[in-house]
Symmetry: C2
DNA sequence: CACAATTAAGTTGTGCACAACTTATCTGGC
DNA sequence: GCCAGATAAGTTGTGCACAACTTAATTGTG
């Protein structure tokens, strides 16, 4: 099961070629898309991970999930989220408060400013989709394949 | 051309849902795959970006590309590569030398140790491919779609 | 030849990611 | 009710990424 990617030449030689590797394609595409987001999100003073946190909060605006719950959605730990949330709080977009019933938990809620920002980012998904050059069907297929890969890896990790 | 991803509900509501976004799927898959690489590359004392640099050097072991040429392959700038290469040099895997004919350039070559390491990483592409749970045809299709997206974005950026 | 503009690499500062650790709180078994 | 183990968030340290900048060398044009 060598020579994974293309079936000629020596296995060793071929599989280690950069342009043949799915992982490099994934890594490069992820960074390229973040490059598309950057100037757009700059207008709102946001980074891409900060925008992702807001996406989660906008989905359930009355929920105020904990740091762990945010982390479960985004697959990020407190080492990443704690300072990020501190910056979002500094920008006046979210508030953090200790849970009353469990003092270990910190609940993250939207401020009015954070809630209002949602209305201003409507056009972003469209802009991003256009930048990929893919059609809707291709985007959906790509998303589903990637989600399947991610889920497969995470399932393996849990066992 | 709203409601990109699925054709029901309000455009605003749907397109901003995390799980519907291709970009999040890409970001999550990229990090998940890096998680698969990490314990494997740890054995060799490498990070994933360091491994990518070695892939480029292994492709043309007598070439000693410059920092810029490496950067063009990997789409990384000197701000990322300079400290990374310093670490690879510290690990005894590469050497950096000023070009004789153009003192601005720094050429990056493999040491014997760096060259030898190639023989020990043969199995990595196979291990990674297995972890994705995808078949060869799917991997190739995924790689090509992602490469197309990346190229589209970079082409737009240049104009 | 002079020198302004360009190019190459490196540096500095910010913000992720993530491992390893700390601190504070909670829970279950006795 | 006590306390060992678990859990939640935060902190520290390392290594990318990338913007903005610096320094040094080269190139093109007059």
């Amino acid at each position: 099961m060598h020579n994974l990617i293309v079936g000629y030449g020596s296995a060793v030689t071929d599989d280690l070629v950069l342009r043949r590797q799915v992982c490099f394609a994934l890594y490069a595409a992820s960074r390229a898309l973040t490059d598309v987001y950057r100037p757009i999100l700059d207008e709102f003073g946001l980074t891409y991970p900060q925008y992702l946190v807001l996406l989660v909060l906008w989905e359930r605006p009355d929920d105020a999930p904990t740091v762990s719950e945010l982390g479960a959605e985004l697959r990020l730990d407190s080492g990443t989220l704690s300072p990020l949330l501190k910056r979002l709080e500094g920008a006046g977009l979210v508030v953090r408060r200790r849970s009353a019933r469990d003092e270990r938990r910190v609940e993250v809620g939207l401020t009015e400013r954070g809630r209002a920002l949602r209305q201003r980012v409507d056009e972003i998904p469209l802009q991003i989709a256009r930048a990929t050059g893919l059609g809707i069907a291709e985007l959906v297929a790509l998303r589903d394949t990637l989600t399947r890969v991610t889920d497969t890896i995470h399932r393996q990790k849990e066992q």
